[in-house]
Amino acid sequence: MTGTVNHDPRLAVEIAGIHFNNPVIGASGTFGYGLEFAELIDLNRIGGFSTKGLSSRPLAGTPPPRIVETHGGMLNAIGLQNIGARAFVEEKLPLLERYDTRIIANVFGYSDEDYIEAITILNDGAGIDAYELNISCPNVKEGGIVIGNSPAAAARLTERARRASTRPLIVKLSPNVTDIAQLARAIVGAGADSLSLINTLVGMSIDIYTRRSRLNYGTGGLSGPAIRPIAVRMVHEVACAVDVPLIGIGGIASVMDALEFIIAGATAIQIGTANYYDPRVTVKVVDGLSEYLDRTDSPNIGSLTGSIIKDQP
């Protein structure tokens, strides 16, 4: 399949030793298991994608309604419905084999053990390039605290996942914290090879006639262009705090948006919600990056990472 795509070599990036043809990655939960997009785009043209969050066992998810649109974004409370790590390895991976694109298995659980179990299952899967730990789930064992909001709990989980994993480990940061740089340092200190950020911000929307939340679950995760300025700021903060490659996420819907993250310090970017309303956005951004390099006479995309000019402290 590779033969059919002429990759722009200036767009290639490396994260934790993995080669990506370009820095454009489909975000977890918005790109299904990749195959859903095969009819819409040439999967060989994007850098990679992150799977829907995989747990050790299949999960039903929360009752509907699960999504509600807001200004510039949407709230979701999918409840992490997924086919389970085993089914992904057995049913999806074989079908993905023929694509030359990086596959990131997004992993989550409700306890450290859950995560380790899912990783252990996924270690068997051929063709997975890296793991991305979604640490924004409430930990049932610790009374519902969100692992990703506590540097100590996140570092502990990172360390255990690092040991269990046979593949590079990306940890995905929760933005619902006071100090994301501190969280990032703790997680990198615990052995993460890369960080991706941001996950969704916790939000709520109320139907003023029923006086109920518009989501069955109550709260949901806010995504889309509305959160982009927060995400860009956080990527910039984390880039100043740690030395591992970053994957920028949050409201990217165009090549200009993607470049904001790269200039702020990201090596690659993920596109989430925009895939829903512009299903070919990923390849449009890939093309747009090449054009930007032409227009600005930049040697390659890597030269832009963290290239922000600061006049002020």
């Binding site: 829907k52 309604p65 699960r66 649109e69 200004h71 979701n76 139907d207 006639y209 829903y276 309303y277």
Partner: protein
């Protein structure tokens, strides 16, 4: 499924708040009765998500029409697009209404169809009715709307033009029978079953409308042992199966597990009514 930018042939107001949008595509689109599209006015920045609209009519290989009600931000933005304007479209999506040929071998009880349309749910069944008529299946249409004006907006004239038996109800009694469309439906089934000693099972009910209407149609169908298919609505993030936002709760044998929910967009929109857990409503309104 094609993902493209369609050009507006026309975007006509039928009655205030109801419009018929006709789009020209640069590729051939094969849409079957009951399928839908995800649409968004191209030049608009808000809302972000495309809106699901049933294919109302196929006007040629590259032309589709959509009948829609202006409800909120998305349909309002669509209503502003004029002839020559552009609409982002993903189409066709979802499964389609199954239409079986009547079993001509059976002399006594030919199969019959009952189509129940509630409000703008009508948009999903016009092509179905045409197909049933073409297949010469004995078809009864029950058409309910809030008022006579809304009925027009929901395409009543197009349904009338089919020449099929048509029972109209309006909530306010301004046209046809006053009350919900499920009342004459129930009467009809009772009469049919008693008078002609037909079994309910000889009828297939096709329903599309508000959730409470469809839940009630399901109850009636169950009572008369009629087969019942419903086209469901749900808030849709993507329309092509990736967001898993549009699910409905379905009956499963085992405990609640992965199979407890199905996506309206790709597993439906058409489901057998008896598989749905009607008490778990997919819509928040």
């Amino acid at each position: 499924m094609i993902e493209t930018v369609a050009t507006v042939e026309s975007n006509l107001e039928i009655t205030p708040g109801y419009r018929l949008l006709t789009l020209n595509f640069d590729e051939e689109v094969e849409a079957r009765a009951g399928q839908f599209a995800m649409l968004r006015a191209r030049a608009s920045f808000e809302p972000l998500l495309r809106r699901a609209l049933a294919v109302y009519r196929v006007a040629g290989k590259r032309q589709l029409s959509f009948l829609y009600q202006i409800l909120g931000r998305g349909t309002e933005q669509l209503s502003f697009v004029e002839r020559g304007g552009e609409v982002e479209a993903l189409v066709p999506l979802g499964n389609s209404w199954p239409v079986e040929m009547p079993e001509r071998s059976s002399v006594e009880a030919s199969r019959r169809a009952i189509v129940v349309a509630g409000g703008i749910g009508s948009a999903s069944v016009l092509m179905l009715c045409e197909e049933l008529a073409r297949a010469r299946i004995d078809t009864q249409i029950f058409f309910g709307a809030a008022s006579g004006r809304v009925a027009s907006g929901c395409g009543l004239e197009d349904f009338r033009a089919l020449g099929l038996p048509l029972t109209i109800t309006t909530d306010d009694g301004s046209l046809g029978e006053r009350g919900f469309v499920t009342a004459p439906l129930e009467r009809h089934l009772r009469d049919e079953v008693s008078k002609k000693s037909l079994r309910g099972a000889d009828s297939t009910i096709y329903a599309c409308g508000p959730w409470p209407m469809m839940a009630r149609v399901n109850e009636i169908a169950a009572r008369f042992d009629a087969r019942c298919l419903v086209s469901l609505e749900a808030p849709m993030g993507c329309g092509f199966g990736v967001c898993v936002g549009c699910v409905v709760a379905v009956k499963t044998d085992g405990p609640l597990g992965y199979a407890s929910y199905r996506r309206v967009c790709t597993d439906g929109t058409i489901f057998s009514a008896d598989t749905i857990r009607w008490e778990v409503n997919a819509m928040s309104h």
